[in-house]
């Protein structure tokens, strides 16, 4: 009896493990959704791989938003997510950036051959960083990847790429467009043609063992709403 009243009083808490690049957008959505649903949102942010591993080890998560399909596939294969709830909620582009301080003049894909003149190129490790994987595909389709091997600095995440470019230690780098927009010290020289790499999508799904299934599904629905999509766009995400 006593227990019940307690449960009613306590607001439900929805734990959302989300790719770290979505941090700012999610923070902006948080109060809106919380108000509509009388729920508290808790974000657990990190690299998609780390988040997936936490889920594999039984971390109490309700919703997972990954920055790539691979980890979502693994979780789906292990039946840790509800397959029917899986949706691609947004997307991103690969941006080619340089420091504002340099006067590099690669303004378009056609001038990419000038990359030969730069010394160091920062890119996410393609084996672990989705943005790196897409960059690899992009450069491979231009037949540049192998040629540039010796100049590549592999970073553990997109943020590290940004840091290298911001501090001038790498001349140029490849990051998500959304990441590039968080920094006011880099220029986006151009964005990669989306046809030259796999589509960059952010799949989301409700966990199999969630205790708040309805709320979780509401949250996924909310992510697809115009309001949420506008917020995502303002941070550089595009479906």
């Amino acid at each position: 009896d006593n227990k019940q009243t307690n449960e009613i009083k306590e607001k439900a808490t929805l734990t959302i493990s989300a790719a770290i690049s979505l941090t700012d957008a999610l923070e902006e959505m948080k109060p809106i959704f919380e108000k509509e649903h009388d729920v508290e949102l808790t974000f657990n942010l990190g690299g998609s791989g780390k988040l997936a591993q936490q889920i594999q080890q039984g971390a109490p998560v309700d919703v997972f938003i990954s920055a790539n399909q691979d980890w979502m596939d693994i979780l789906e294969h292990e039946k840790l997510i509800q397959s029917d709830t899986r949706k691609d909620i947004t997307g991103n582009k690969i941006a080619f950036i340089s420091s504002k301080k340099t006067n590099l003049s690669i303004d378009s894909l056609e001038e990419i051959d000038q990359l030969d003149s730069v010394k160091q190129i920062a890119v996410g490790n393609p084996e672990t960083v989705p943005a790196g994987k897409y960059t690899e595909q992009f450069l491979t389709s231009l037949n540049k990847w192998d040629e540039l091997q010796d100049k590549l600095i592999l970073a553990k995440d997109v943020r590290q790429v940004l840091t290298y470019v911001e501090t001038g230690n790498a001349d140029v780098g490849f990051v998500y467009e959304s990441d590039a927009k968080t920094s006011n010290q880099v220029n986006i020289l151009f964005t990669a043609d989306t046809t030259l790499h796999d589509p960059i999508v952010y799949p989301a799904a409700v966990m199999s063992d969630t205790e708040h299934e309805d709320l979780a599904k509401d949250f996924l629905r909310f992510l697809e709403s115009d309001q949420a999509q506008d917020i995502l766009k303002s941070y550089g995400f595009n479906k």
């Binding site: 974000f43 080890q57 943020r159």
Partner: protein, 230 residues
């Protein structure tokens, strides 16, 4: 920086202190028990204690996640018997801090207990003092300089712990967001002002704690050595 949430400060402070106390007690006890003993395999045990230092914190975190996760051998028991969920909770933050700082305290304490003249303990025994009393009144104060060094290292390491915490405790604002995690996420989201703010806070916090510890030690534990040169 508009809406400054100070919870990481309090959380980090609380965590570092509690972890330091627990590590201190356990490591000093183990070091004392093992320091004057020699048996085959002792070196191996001591090397195992150093594991969390050799492995990158993320890997330590991964190991802890496997142990304390819902399906892990320890995590399972804790949930079934006590309904305590470790992952993503404050317990996880504490556990991570304890595990990574333990080797520092153990090594320091172990050296400290070898450093003084065992004869003095015998002298205390002849005066009828119990083992417990001899430990507290003779061994402990004589080993103190080394123990203090270990304490300082332990506190600093617990305060700065990041990799294992992130893995085991996740980054959950208000619950597991210690200062190092706050710095990391501020950097990740490009908020350099926020990052700098937290770096300053953690440095000030670490410094004050360490300076206080040194001051306290000089006052209460080492007054005899101050007099030495008088």
């Amino acid at each position: 920086m508009d809406e400054m949430n100070l919870s990481p400060l309090w959380l980090s402070f609380k965590t570092a202190i509690i972890a330091t106390i627990i590590v201190f007690i356990v490591a000093v006890f183990l070091a004392r028990v093992l320091s004057r003993r020699s048996f085959p395999g002792k070196s191996v045990i001591e090397a195992i204690f150093l594991l969390p230092l050799v492995l990158p914190p993320t890997v330590v975190g991964f190991g802890l996640l496997i142990l304390f996760g819902k399906n892990g051998p320890i995590g399972k028991v804790l949930i079934e018997w006590f309904n305590i969920q470790i992952v993503f909770s404050w317990y996880a933050v504490i556990i991570a801090a304890i595990v990574v700082s333990f080797p520092l305290m153990y090594q320091s304490a172990s050296a400290a207990f070898q450093g003084y003249d065992a004869h003095l303990e015998y002298a205390a025994y002849t005066m009828g003092a119990s083992k417990w009393r001899v430990f507290w009144t003779i061994s402990f104060p004589l080993a103190w300089p080394g123990l203090l060094a270990g304490l300082v290292l332990t506190f600093a390491r617990a305060l700065g712990e990041f990799g294992a915490t992130l893995m085991l405790a996740g980054y959950i604002p208000g619950i597991t967001d210690t200062i190092p995690l706050a710095i990391y996420f501020a950097v990740e989201s490009g908020n350099m002002k926020m990052a700098t703010f937290w770096v300053i806070i953690i440095v000030v916090l670490g410094f004050s704690a360490i300076l206080w510890l040194n001051w306290w030690s000089k006052r209460h534990m080492m007054d005899h050595s101050n007099n030495k040169k008088a």
